[in-house]
């Protein structure tokens, strides 16, 4: 298959279409708008529907309707817009309606929002954090697959950098033959028994037991965690310090780690790909090898909580990131400069940074 040069946002949209997405609803908001633009002309070409919705609430509930009929559906926004959709995410999880959510963050301040969820009740969504445009393509396709597999929303967490970086990518649709047919979807009863697709219980009629249903949803979570945890590690064999980073900044961190190696520092990296489920074992294994972990994230310290929970005090966990924006507030801040990351890693390496 040939590669094509595409901007991240467009590649994400095209990946969704090639994964079978046939419904998209969005409300314009920087830096996710390019996905809506692309979908508005491309989805009709494949017989799909794109809605330029009148609000974030309308957009996510249009997705609810399409996905509830068994159609692969996606929505994208940025953290602010994603905040407005949280009630629906929580109840989509309870209704066991799969869909794909894309958050093109401004910086990385939405780690908590993505991994804890801003909605009510005991739910999670699968969270996948690509660090290149090619990986974004692959993870969008994976997101549709795992969403259908677990009948749960899956969230792809990108950012301004990812959305506006152009790369040569190829589209490799997955084998989806292992997915069961969507017999739960509301399509009109036809000759089968009628269904009630609801967050309050199973789709069978006359059988609404919310308490039992919520327990069943919660019981899925450890099974998802066991099956869907993903991470990438590098240069850990002889490392004395490991840097943990996710998303676009992880790409800068990998560059910085190689630069540190060139300067004689034995450092490596751990890159969580799934943020929920968090790859605690990969982080703990790294902590077993090194004398300190450094966490680079473009926020005031969010993923570092999960790192500390994984490490359980075995080694110091040092924050080396921080809030860093350009004047637009959209997230390409000076902290991303490789020289800064290299200097911060070197401080940890020399034992001079505070945990």
């Amino acid at each position: 298959m040939t590669k094509v040069l595409m901007e991240g946002s467009h590649a994400i949209a095209e990946a969704a279409i090639q994964a079978g997405c046939r419904f998209y609803a969005g409300y314009p908001i920087t830096p996710s708008t390019e996905i809506l633009e692309y979908m508005s002309h491309r989805l009709p070409q494949v017989g799909g529907v794109c809605m330029n919705a009148e609000s974030e609430l309308e957009a996510i509930n249009m997705v609810w309707g399409a996905a509830g009929c068994g159609v692969r559906a996606m929505i994208a926004s940025t953290g602010q817009g994603i905040s407005l959709m949280q009630e629906s995410f929580a109840e989509l999880a309870n209704a066991e309606i799969p869909c794909v959510i894309v958050n093109m963050m401004r910086g990385q301040g939405d780690y908590f929002q993505a991994t804890r969820g801003g909605g009510h009740g005991d739910y999670r969504h699968l969270v996948l954090a690509p660090h290149t445009v090619q990986e974004a393509v692959d993870l969008v396709m994976l997101a549709f697959h795992v969403a259908d597999r677990w009948r749960n929303p899956a969230l792809v967490l990108g950012d301004f950098v990812l959305g506006h970086t152009s790369e040569a990518v190829e589209f490799r649709p997955r084998d989806e033959s292992d997915l069961p047919p969507k017999t739960w979807a509301a399509t009109g009863k036809g000759s089968r028994a009628s269904l009630n697709v609801t967050p309050l219980g199973s789709p069978e009629k006359l059988d609404l037991k919310p308490g039992d249903h919520y327990q069943a949803i919660a019981a899925k979570l450890p099974r998802i965690a066991a099956a869907e945890t993903r991470a990438e590690t590098g240069l850990l064999d002889d490392a004395e310090v490991a840097v943990v980073a996710f998303g676009s900044p992880a790409r800068f961190v990998k560059y910085a780690v190689h630069a540190c190696r060139a300067q004689g520092m034995k450092v490596g990296w751990v890159r969580p790909i799934s943020l929920w489920p968090f790859p605690a074992e990969a982080v703990a294994a790294a902590a077993g090898r090194v004398r300190a972990l450094a966490v680079f994230e473009q926020n005031a310290g969010q993923m570092i909580d999960d790192v500390r929970l994984a490490v359980l005090g075995k080694v110091p966990v040092v924050p080396i990131g921080g809030i860093s924006h350009d004047p637009s507030g959209f997230g390409v801040g000076p902290a991303l400069a490789p020289a800064n990351i290299i200097a911060k890693i070197a401080e940890v390496y020399r034992g001079k940074a505070a945990a």
Partner: protein
Amino acid sequence: MSTPELKKVSAKPDLLLSTHHSLCPGCGEPLALRVILELLAELGVAERTICVCGIGCYTAFPGIIDVDVLQALHGRAPSVATGAKRVLPDRFVFTLQGDGDMVSEGLQEIIHSAARGEKFTAVLLNNGVFGETGGHMTTTSVLGQRTKTTMDTGRVAEKHGYPIKIADLIAQVDGSTYVARGAMHTPAAIAWTKRILGEAFRVQLEGEGFSFVEVLTMCPTDWYVEPSETPGWIERNFTGTYPLKILKHP
């Protein structure tokens, strides 16, 4: 004039799976449901029907009606119905919302769905109270109406604002095709409502556009009257603000 002989007939529609529900005696919503289910059967669309249900007392219905249902969140049924009808345009899609759900929480959704000319049918069950939470003022509570949150004075315009006549608003939106208002308080009103619901459903079946029917329903519990007094209550308090009529048709 002699009184006609009263006959007891079975009123259970074929599309009702169970007559058990948790609504109060004298409630108008089960009557509206019966009319809707009768029409779905008469039109022969039950097999391809998707009902999108809001949140209110009538949320008791999705589990006992023999058609597919998508349960929506409070206020959001028109958006959910939009997604469903757009991906399955040959299905028969209707929404069921109360006044709290549609006119208070979800005003934006219903107006925009009408403006887009979505080809589903929206049904409003309007009793002027948040029945499920115990009888609080909604946007459609009429002036003077005593509710749990207007108990001392009734609804007073200076304090609580005016009721929104949603059918009138929808009728003014270019994207709406059929708009009408009925009620469940007398046999004649029920027959009228069955007629306008049938017309609204046919507008959808013929692909003509967005159809909307408001149905005034009785709530003796939260109007603080006996069930037998609710028809008079509707005539005294509701039909002046909400007259039964066709507001727009193709």
